[in-house]
């Protein structure tokens, strides 16, 4: 086992990831930081870095951050596990979930 630094961190907020940010695509423009009505995000201290999700559990799932993100592939909305929609193929009956 390699040495891994472990911090004492309180339980992580639930749900913790209302969006998934692709750091390779995100240009750190902070549009999501600007428009989120809740202030779920704060800007990254490193200029141009992806925003940090700070108030994850206050998200009301309006989706404006992902809808208004100007950079394709930078932000994917991530429905919390209990809220993922389901559907079925009418012909085969196969059920899918997001």
């Amino acid at each position: 086992m390699s040495e891994q630094k472990v911090f004492a961190i309180p339980n992580v907020q639930t749900p913790s990831m209302p969006v998934i940010i692709n750091p390779d695509a995100c240009i750190g423009c902070n549009k999501c930081v600007e428009i989120c009505p809740i202030d779920v995000f704060i800007p990254n201290p490193k200029k141009g870095g992806p925003p940090i999700i700070l108030h994850a559990e206050e998200c009301w799932y309006c989706g404006c951050c992902a809808c208004d993100c100007p950079t394709p592939g930078a932000m994917t909305f991530n429905w919390p596990l209990p809220l993922k929609p389901r559907w079925r193929n009418k012909e085969t009956g196969a059920v899918s979930q997001l």
Partner: protein, 649 residues
């Protein structure tokens, strides 16, 4: 790396607060008209006032571009009887809309007369209100000349209940429909409203929560001459001097339920909706009414599936609901066949329940998109769901996830997630500020619009009443002088606001919120008696005396949430006082008192009002339809109304 804990693990320390900390530092702003709340009503109020040539400041807790319940979008412009395809007279339609107890005839008359003009002004700003790209040619309700998309809603009457004639031959024929509801591309609206505010020179204060109104010389009930605000990123304290203030904040918050599963989504609205406007108007001495009205939260409790992720919800127009074996259920589909009926009758619900239990219908149920015509399902999915408040993201993510409208049926959570518990209540969008025909409150200098008014309606109501209040406030300020604000009042407010920043331990905002919701669930819930309500009041007063002094906030954002809790506590007390004062049960108000079981006795068929005078509650009453003749009153107050804005005027 995107979350806080990942940052900590990678960097070895938490991120520093990214904004300058200015707890208690003051900024003073002078303006003519101050608008509190930058949602739909607030934006329209600011735009309309600015178009009258006065100075306007707009403060918003979030960011105006997407804040408020209508920030993400809007799919129905609900009540536009003045549109050219309408078959009803706006004044008669307003009368029909107001023809139920505890409605708001003033707001409805304004909406019916002016919200089509408002919609055309939205189009002037660049908002999409017509099928200009011919995406939905052939859809029922599309008018090929105007390219308006009419919704089936209110086809035969202004009601969501099923009409008794549904299913009869010739029911709801296209040539007789009311055509009062227009489908719109509302996701385009909010950023354009912000842009127009900027173009008109409105001073926008994003991330500023309104915390109190300033009365002339600090006297409760005297003219409102300003307000205070808190910046939720910096902790800066803002002092606004204004000749008039328009309250356009939200309705009540999650006072009965804070979901630990999805805390940001404990009712249908965001956590930002915490009743601050009503609480500050109360303390300023304004009269409120219908504060005793509550109802059970049917959807979006944070403990159920999210609104709209199950077929059969609002906006699923024309989508047939089928059981697991593909049999059609007698559930209304809000479509052309049932003239937009949304809520099943109690008999229908019971019939479905029985059929489930005896095996006739098999769970779960599905929204059968493949059974619809191609253009109708695209209209419902892409236009209705794609443009409604928080569902654009649903449409986008499901598309990415492989959902195919022509192939797949969407799972409905109806009947498998059960009913809401009776103690999961909502103060609604019922109680609010008493307003007159100028949308002025009972306090001079203070106006109200949108969900801030008593018995409000939908998005287009907020837009039309906001636009109206802006016009009226601008006219008012031309006739009044500067007001005198009181330094004492400001100091008291600063002490109240910044007290939680002086502590680093005690009770945090979430626990306080939870404590309040539990008190409301136990004592102000399904079973109401004098004793229980008084116990509720005592418990909330105990929370104020013992828990609030322990409230702590580690940063400006948490401070804002803490102050929201204080608004909710104030709001809760007002509700209980109003419930205690109405010594009768009322179906229309959702008030069932065990000690006064008779439903809606005639002697209680009236609005109860309440306000603070020298910090003592004074009750009053008003008869049903106290607003008088709606058409006459509207016309008497709007002789100078000039209709749709001309940009170069």
């Amino acid at each position: 790396m995107a979350t806080w804990h990942e940052y900590l693990i990678n960097e070895g320390r938490p991120p520093e607060w990214p904004y300058p900390i200015r707890f208690g530092q003051e900024q003073e702003i002078d303006t003519d008209v101050l608008v509190i709340g930058g949602g739909i009503a607030g934006c329209w109020a600011a735009i309309s006032a600015a178009r009258q040539g006065v100075r306007v400041a707009l403060l918003e807790k979030g960011d105006v571009s997407r804040s408020g319940s209508g920030g993400p979008g809007c799919d129905h412009w609900c009540n536009a009887p003045a549109n050219p395809l309408s078959r009803v007279d706006p004044d008669e339609w307003a009368l029909r809309m107001a023809d139920h107890p505890y409605s708001n005839g003033i707001g409805l008359q304004i909406q019916c007369r002016e919200d089509y003009d408002t919609l055309l002004e939205m189009e002037q700003m660049g908002g999409k209100i017509r099928d200009t790209e011919d995406e939905y040619v052939g859809a029922e309700g599309r008018d090929d000349e105007t390219k308006f998309m009419i919704s089936p809603r209110y086809g035969v009457s202004p009601s969501y209940a099923p009409d008794p004639h549904i299913g009869e031959p010739g029911f709801n024929p296209p040539e007789k429909r009311n055509n009062v509801v227009i489908r719109v591309w509302g996701s385009t609206f909010k950023p354009l409203l912000k842009k127009e505010c900027k173009r008109l020179g409105v001073q926008i204060f994003d991330r500023v929560m309104g915390t109190s109104l300033l009365n002339e010389n600090g006297v409760q009930g005297a003219r409102v001459v300003g307000a205070t605000g808190l910046n939720s990123r910096t902790g800066e304290f803002l002092i606004f001097r204004a000749k008039a203030v328009i309250l356009a904040a939200s309705g009540a918050g999650s006072m009965w339920l804070m979901s630990m599963e999805h805390g940001g989504y404990s009712n249908m609205h965001s956590r930002n909706d915490s009743g601050d406007g009503t609480a500050m108007a109360w303390k300023a001495g304004a009269s409120l009414t219908m504060m005793e009205r509550t109802g059970t939260i049917g959807i979006a409790t944070g403990l159920k599936h999210k609104w709209y992720t199950g077929a059969g919800d609002a906006s699923y127009e024309n989508v047939p609901i089928v059981d697991a074996k593909g049999r059609r259920l007698p559930y209304p589909i809000q479509g052309w066949e049932d003239a937009g009926a949304m809520s099943p009758t109690a008999e229908t619900t019971e019939k479905i329940h029985e059929a489930i239990l005896n095996g006739e219908y098999e769970l779960p149920f599905y929204g059968d998109f493949p059974a619809m015509s191609e253009v109708e399902r695209r209209t419902t999915w892409n236009l209705m769901l794609g443009e409604e408040s928080t569902t654009k993201i649903l449409v986008n993510t499901m598309k990415d996830g492989g959902f195919d409208l022509g192939r797949d049926q969407l799972l409905s959570y109806k009947f498998i997630e059960g009913q809401s518990l009776p103690q999961w209540r909502d103060a609604g969008y019922g109680g609010g500020l008493l307003v007159d025909w100028n949308l002025k409150t009972t306090v001079d200098g203070l106006y109200a619009a949108g969900t801030q008014t008593f018995s409000p309606e939908d998005h287009s109501y907020c837009a039309a009443t906001g636009r109206y209040a802006g016009r009226k406030a601008a006219a008012y300020i031309k006739e009044v002088g500067e007001g005198q604000i009181s330094r004492d009042q400001i100091e008291k407010e600063k002490n109240r606001i910044f007290a939680p920043t002086k502590r680093t331990g005690g009770i945090e905002w979430k626990e306080l919120h939870n404590g309040l919701t539990r008190a409301m669930q136990y004592f102000v819930s399904e079973f109401k008696t004098e004793r229980l309500l008084k116990m509720g009041l005592e418990e909330i007063e105990r929370i104020e005396a013992e828990a609030v002094p322990q409230l702590f906030a580690l940063d400006p954002h948490k401070l804002m949430r803490s102050i929201e809790d204080l608004s909710m506590i104030e709001y809760a007390k007002i509700i209980i006082h109003a419930m205690l004062a109405r010594k009768a049960s009322s179906a229309a108000l959702g008030l069932k008192r065990i000690d006064y079981p008779e439903m809606d006795p005639p002697e209680w068929d009236k609005y109860l009002t309440l306000k603070l005078v020298n910090d003592q509650i004074q009750f009053g009453e008003l008869p049903q339809r106290f607003w008088g003749d709606m058409k006459q009153q509207y016309e008497a107050h709007n002789k100078d109304y000039t209709g749709v804005y001309t940009p170069n005027k």
